[in-house]
Structures are given as C-alpha cells and as structure tokens.
C-alpha cells in the first residue's frame, strides 16, 4: 500500500493498492446477481478477461456463453430484455462497439432496450496486444447513439459501484473500463450517481476534467501544479453522457482555463463533449490530453501512456500552456 504525501491544502487521496477496473466490474456484477434476479450475463469467450467467472459460478443458469460471436451476443441481449431481463454483455471494448455498431444501433439503441454493454481493455493500456485491440474511438461511437448512457469510471471501487448503479437505470448503457492494475483511491462504499460529476479537488486557476485511468493522473498533476503555485480543480466526469454540464460550466466560470484528460482519441471523446458544452454556455480556452487521431501500438501500459502523452506530466504541460 502506498500512502501519498500531499500538500495540506490539498484533498487526500490514498491509493489503497493497485487493482484493475475490470475486477471492479466482476465484483459488482457478482454482487448484483444476488440483489437482482433479472440480471443476466452474456460473454463472448472472454469470461476470465472480463472477470465474470464469479458470476458464472454463482449463477450458472443466468450466464450465457455465446462464443466468439459478438454480433449475435448483442442481438440475444436485446431479445432477452423482452420479458424483463437486464442483460450485461462482456467483451473487449473494441468488440463491444466498432465490431457490432449496427447491432447496437438498431436492436438496442433505436429499439430502446435495457442492455448494459460492459467493455474491458479500453484504450492504449490494453498494452502488448497492440492497435487491433486498443480502441480509442468507442466513446465517440457510443455517445452519438441517441439514448445511450456512456460511463468510464476511474478505479476499482468506482467501477464496482457503477456496475451496480446501471442495473437500476432503465435504458442502454455503455460501461467502459480497463485491463491494467491502477491506483484504487475512491471510497469503497460509494454510491455511483449517473450523470453526476465528482469534484475531487477544488481550485481557482485551472479546471482539469478527467475520466477513467486519467483521473488519478489528474490528481497527480494537481499536486505538481500546486508546487508551482497553481491551484487546479480536478473533476471526475465519469459519466460522459449525460454530461454534468452544470459542474463543467460552474468550474469553467471559476477558472476560465480547462484541460480535459482521457484515454481516447480527441475526436469524439470527453474533450469534445466539454468543448461543446462550454462553447454554448461559457466559451473557455481548452487543452486536450488525448490521443491525436492515431492508432496505438504494442508496449507496456505505462510506456504507451508516456509515449502518447496521457499522464500527469502531459496534463501539467497543458495547464501551464493555458496559464502561461
């Protein structure tokens, strides 16, 4: 366990130990199985990778192995909602979105089906498998679908809470999480509120809006900025759609400088959602920590984040650029 020493004006966030967000999904799903008998799980040959083994073991009659056939999985999930089931589909983010976009569009989104699309191994931090599997476009695709809720939680505890929260939400949801072990720092017993931003650190000089693995990096960046005398506000916008627009506007009004940080292409991601909101309500200078319209490549997760500029250092540079 690492206890981070922080400046006393700063909020304390303790990493209680590195753990993967997909394990948060697995744990949340398993608990959900006990609480809600209508929850069913479908998986396309990635039960171990999605951490769905516990659900499968506890509820074999509600677990559906569909094999390597994601399009069929999406259709079956849509059909299973007819009669009151709440299907959670599990595969990698790439195969949860781009591969099956039309099935999601017609059979789930347009048909208004209560399917929860649960997507692991999102972004560059999938690592060594390389660009074929590292989707950086999924948030864009999913947020463009009318009625789709899009969530990218920041750590194990929040992913677990979000997994449970989406079962109580009527309508399709895209839940995005990842493969690598990352700091777990949000509250263990939290309740996830869809569409509600989480202000992790207040500050007056620059707003850092982050999602997923980049939230911890944003907190690290805020500490580095603090040492340079810059008070950064750090907000976790785990729900990208519907976006907590009030939180975005209020913070931008206070700081008049915005950095967005995400493990996604800058086309179609969180940054664009924030920019659209601010363009309409409070035009603000903004910098984007995101991939720059590129595919990824093989490498260790931290090497990739470094190479593609998705870390605390990159956030600091962008913040200073805005304030410089």
């Amino acid at each position: 366990m690492t206890i981070k020493k922080i400046n006393k004006q700063m909020n304390t966030f303790t990493n209680t130990g590195n753990i993967d967000t997909r394990s948060g999904f697995g744990a949340g799903l398993s608990e959900l199985g006990d609480k809600n008998k209508n929850v069913v799980a479908l998986c396309a040959d990635l039960t171990g990778s999605l951490k769905m083994n516990d659900f499968k073991k506890k509820f074999p009659e509600r677990f559906y192995q569909v094999g390597i056939a994601e399009a069929n999985m999406m259709g079956i999930a849509a059909g299973m909602t007819i009669g009151g089931k709440i299907p959670f589909t599990g595969t990698f983010a790439n195969f949860s979105t781009g591969r099956v976009y039309d099935q999601i569009r017609q059979s789930i989104a347009y048909s208004g089906k209560n399917v929860k699309l649960c997507a692991s191994h999102a972004g560059l931090t999938l690592g060594e498998d390389g660009a074929t599997h590292q989707i950086l476009e999924d948030i864009g695709m999913m947020k463009m679908l009318p009625g789709m809720t899009v969530i990218n939680p920041c750590d194990y505890n929040q992913t677990k809470a979000a997994t449970q929260a989406i079962a109580d939400h009527e309508g399709p949801v895209y839940l995005r999480f990842g493969r690598p072990k990352v700091p777990n720092f949000t509250a263990e017993d939290q309740k996830f509120e869809i569409g509600k931003a989480q202000i992790l650190q207040e500050g007056n000089d620059v707003s850092i809006f982050a999602i997923g693995h980049l939230v911890w990096e944003a907190l690290e960046a805020a500490k580095a900025l603090q040492e340079k005398g810059i008070q950064a506000e750090v907000i976790n916008l785990a729900t990208i759609k519907p976006l907590d627009e009030k939180a975005v506007i209020d913070s931008a009004k206070k700081t008049n400088a915005v950095v967005t940080a995400e493990e996604h292409n800058y086309y179609g991601g969180l940054g664009e959602s924030v920019a659209r909101t601010l363009a309409q309500h409070h035009p603000t200078r903004q910098e984007f920590v995101a991939t720059q319209d590129t595919f990824g490549e093989s490498g260790k997760p931290h090497e990739l984040l470094d190479k593609y500029g998705l870390n605390a250092d990159a956030i600091v540079v962008k913040a200073e650029k805005l304030l410089g």
Binding site: V40, G75, I76, A78, G79, G83, S111
Partner: protein
C-alpha cells in the same frame, strides 16, 4: 391453434392494403409482402396466442419478430386487421409523424412491434434472446420469427443459427421466406444459398419444408408440424417456398417489385384482381 377458418377474404383484403399503402407514398416493398401474406394471416389469425392489448414484454403469450423489416406493409396490415390498432392508421404509412415507419420500430410505440428491424440479419439473435427469457420466466409460449432467404447472406444469422442449435433453443420457430429473389436479381445469381435445409440440419435444427407457402392449408400444416416439434431440445425452422408478389399477376415471379410501388393504372389492375372483402381503410 384455433380452428381453421376461411381466411381467403382476409388474405385478399391484406393484399389490397399492401398495394394501397405503397401506392399512396410511391415507396415501400410490395413483392415480399405479398409473398408472405398467407403466412402472416395464418400465424396471426389461427396459430399464435396473444393479447390484443399489446404488452411490449410479451409475457405469457406467443411473440413474433419480423427480421426482414422491409415487408412492413403486410405486417402493418395484419396487425391492424387483427385489432392492434385502427386500420385507418394504414393511411399514415411512411408519412411524416407516423407510427408506421418505413421499417418497423418500437421507437414510435406502434402496438405489435417489439424490436426495430430493417438492417438485415439481426432478428434471429433477437428471437433467440426472447426465447431464452421465456425459459427463464417459465413461460411456455413460443417465439416465432420470419427472415428473408436473401437475408441469410448476412453473417450474423449463422452465428445465431450455430448458437440456437448448440444450445437447444427449442421454443423458437423461425420461418425462412424462400422466394429466391433479392434486390439485384435471383438469389442463385446474386449469392446462391444452395441447400438451405442441409445447412440448418448441419447446425442441429429441425427442418420443415412447405412446398407452396402461398397455399393456406400448406402453411397451416407446416406451422402445426412446427409446433409439434417444439420442446424437443432443438430449434425448428420452416422453409416456406413462396412467390414474390403473389396474388398480383404482374408482380409475380420477378424481383422487379421488391421495392417499387405500382402507379395508378397498375394499382387498379392489382386491386381488380383482389376485390374488397373486409372494407378498405
């Protein structure tokens, strides 16, 4: 199944509805609709057990999915004529602010529709999902689905066919409208399907063939046999040999009327071949 009745007048009126719907907006798909008119009529008038007060969840009733959504004119006509909504609403087909979209959708809340279809190849998976939920709910009613033969060219079908055979989805009766035609021509020229029966058999399905899917008694017998095969550990498919455009002579035996509406003159000709029986909408 209820008692057989004289469905000829019903079928004839549905044919008129199909022609009038597509003519009014100079768009839509009459060919496949006419080819499946007898099937829809038998299914909804004699075979399926359903609540006319439409419940989207479809619990404790038989449910139907149309995968080849472009034949919406026959679907809408039969739903309306069975009482799901007022037949006058057929006037709104494909018009602005209508619940009768070009392809069926749940989005506008039209009674009778439980899934959007139109982008082909998705209905088999949806039907399997609904069938699985019926099993979880201890609901012994059946799931019926209809698919075009050309639609089987979409790969998702074969994922679904493999799944249903392997998992023994035995409360599902899928019907293939085998008319041998698709937009660009005959299926055997565009992308041959060859022996559909052998393909399904290879995937562990039970197969029934209906030689003349435009003969009401043959459709009845086919569906009766299909029902008898349910609950035996395997899914059932009924290959329904139909003639596209059936009942309107100039539309028969060609793919030309897949997605084209008749002009005024041809409308009158088609209607004359199918005199009014139950009253036009």
């Amino acid at each position: 199944m209820t008692e057989s009745q004289n469905l000829e007048p019903f079928v004839q009126q549905v044919r008129r509805d199909i022609l009038r719907q597509v003519h009014a907006v100079n768009s839509g798909h009459p060919g496949g609709s006419l080819g499946c008119t007898e099937f829809f009529s038998v299914l909804f008038k004699e075979v399926m057990q359903y609540d006319i007060n439409f419940k989207p969840d479809g619990e404790n009733e038989d449910i139907f999915f149309l995968s080849n959504g472009h034949i919406s004119p026959v679907y809408y006509s039969v739903l309306a004529r069975c009482g799901f909504f007022d037949v006058k609403e057929l006037n709104t087909f494909r018009k602005i602010n209508s619940r009768l979209q070009g392809h069926p959708t749940t989005h506008e809340g039209l009674p009778g529709i439980r899934i959007a279809s139109g982008s082909l190849g998705q209905g088999m998976s949806v039907s399997i999902g609904a069938a699985q939920t019926k099993k979880l709910n201890d609901d012994e009613h059946l799931v019926y689905s209809l698919h075009g033969d050309g639609e089987l060219q979409e790969g998702q079908n074969w994922e679904a066919i493999m799944y249903a055979g392997s998992k023994g989805i035995d409360n599902l009766i899928a019907t293939i409208d085998h008319n041998g035609q698709q937009i660009d021509g005959a299926t055997k020229e565009v992308m041959p399907l060859n022996n559909i029966k052998d393909k399904f058999t290879a995937f562990d399905w039970q197969v029934i063939e209906v030689n003349d899917g435009n003969d009401l008694d043959q459709v009845r017998n086919g569906l009766r046999k299909a029902r008898q095969l349910t609950g035996k550990g395997k899914p059932t498919v009924m290959i329904l040999n139909t003639v596209m455009g059936n009942g309107v002579d100039y539309m028969m035996h060609t793919h030309e009327w897949h997605g084209k509406a008749p002009d005024d003159e041809l409308l009158e000709k088609g209607l004359a071949q199918n005199p009014e029986t139950l009253g036009d909408y």
